[in-house]
């Protein structure tokens, strides 16, 4: 369970997250929508401790992320994250991209790591690209590789940060399909996305962020068909 309690975050004088509280239950898929600069990507960085926060707290299975004694490296093994771009380690093959952390962080043997990596890469449809370098992959394939790499660590949670935003339109589908598959398998996911159709279909709940505040959260039917907040209505009217 991910518990976010009254989180405040600012970059200098710029307030990015303003008293955000929400809980993501195990097995749940939460989508976060909102305009750029609404703080949704920053929230993901805060959840796995890549960004410090100035107030409130974030608990992952009861462990406070930003507490002094927390072993962030250990915590992050349970939280996979896929970014918008530059996910790949360009000097390593697809297989090595996935095995690196398995070997260095989880201390698995080479053969053990490769078994896991091959399985995950097949899962995302890259079983025939093992010895290819990321530079030779399409953007969609690179993103699927990044998903496989995160999944190989057997995380309990997966965070997706606008993973399709930098992709050509025809490549978006393959990445969303992979995420859909994950959701069906019961992975706990937080998905920051601009893909409204995807958010509607896959999410258990959708949160709308506006200027660092969470304006509204609820089932997709509520957010998309009968939003309570005027800002949500305005935002959805603009993206449709």
């Amino acid at each position: 369970m991910i518990e976010i309690e009254h989180v405040h975050k600012s970059f200098g004088s710029l307030k990015v997250l303003d008293d955000v509280s929400l809980t993501v239950n195990t097995g749940e898929v939460l989508s976060i929508i909102g305009g750029s600069g609404s703080g949704k990507s920053t929230l993901l960085m805060c959840i796995n401790g890549l960004e410090p926060i100035q107030g409130g707290r974030i608990l992952i299975d009861g462990t406070e992320v930003h507490a002094k004694g927390t072993d962030l490296n250990a915590l992050r093994r349970n939280i996979g994250i896929v970014f918008q771009q530059w996910n790949a380690f360009p000097h390593l093959t697809v297989l090595e991209n996935v095995t690196l952390a398995l070997r260095k962080v989880l201390k698995k043997s080479r053969s053990e790591a490769e078994d896991i990596a091959v399985k995950q890469l097949k899962h995302v449809g890259l079983g025939d690209k093992l010895t290819t370098y990321p530079g030779k992959l399409s953007g969609g394939q690179q993103q699927r590789m990044a998903i496989a790499r995160a999944l190989a660590m057997s995380p309990r949670y997966m965070l997706f940060d606008e993973v399709t935003s930098a992709l050509d339109p025809q490549l978006v589908g393959e990445v969303l399909d992979t995420m859909r598959l994950l959701a069906e398998e019961g992975m706990t996911m937080i998905v920051v996305t601009h893909e409204m159709q995807f958010a509607r279909e896959v999410s258990d709940r959708v949160a709308f962020f506006n200027q660092g505040k969470m304006e509204e959260i609820g089932p997709p039917e509520q957010i998309f068909d009968a939003p309570h907040s005027d800002n949500t209505k305005k935002f959805l009217a603009n993206v449709r």
Partner: protein, 216 residues
């Protein structure tokens, strides 16, 4: 018919000078690169109050002409009674001089690695050290290599200045021969050719590696 007073022994003398040039270049680059990596990493990753004073010191080594550094260092070590040989002084000064340039190359290389790539590494649970070792340095190396090769070739030519400390390296040995046989154009051509033959493999190696990495 072309005639010259240049003897076989003179050639051997020139090659010995070339050996000194190579040896000093080697120690300057080895020490300079080692220190450059450490200083550059500090400059790229440490907080400003650490990086800034370091940058200031390195700037001194970069801006003061090498000849002045060599002569001052040699004089001060003598005053301080360190009893270092001119060869050791040359290597130390050149290494420091090289490190000031190398640290900038390393800093630039590290800065060129996208933050998101590093975040991807850290998000997988890798430690700072693992991130630097497995991701940042290998990627930065590709960015740094051309400049580093250029630095090596530059330092090799800069070693000619150590002749002021009384060391007979390639250029000095050619001058000695010129003084004796009075054939400056011919002797300098040969010295130039030897410089070229020493530099060529290094620049070829650089180009080869660059090309190999470009394909990735």
């Amino acid at each position: 018919m072309f005639e010259t007073a240049l003897s076989f022994n003179d050639i051997i003398f020139l090659l010995k000078g070339a050996g000194v040039t190579l040896l000093v270049t080697f120690w300057a680059m080895a020490g300079g690169t080692l220190m450059g990596v450490v200083f550059g990493t500090i400059r790229a990753t440490a907080p400003r109050w650490v990086g800034w004073p370091l940058a200031f010191v390195l700037d001194i080594f970069r801006s003061v002409p090498l000849l002045i550094q060599l002569i001052l260092a040699n004089a001060f070590q003598a005053i301080a009674g360190l009893q270092m040989s001119a060869f050791v002084v040359s290597c130390v000064v050149l290494a420091l001089y090289t490190s000031s340039y190398c640290s900038e190359i390393v800093r630039g290389g590290i800065d060129a690695v996208p933050v998101t790539t590093r975040r991807a590494a850290r998000s997988l649970g890798m430690t700072w050290g693992q991130d630097m070792r497995e991701i940042v340095f290998p990627l930065a190396l590709r960015v740094m290599l051309p400049s580093w090769i250029g630095l090596t070739l530059g330092v090799m030519k800069d070693t000619a200045l150590i002749t002021w400390l009384g060391i007979i390296e390639l250029l000095r040995s050619s001058q000695i021969i010129v003084t004796r046989i009075q054939e400056p154009l011919f002797v300098l051509s040969i010295a130039g050719l030897i410089y070229f033959l020493m530099s060529f493999p290094i620049s070829r190696l650089g180009r080869h590696l660059e090309k190999k990495w470009q394909d990735l």
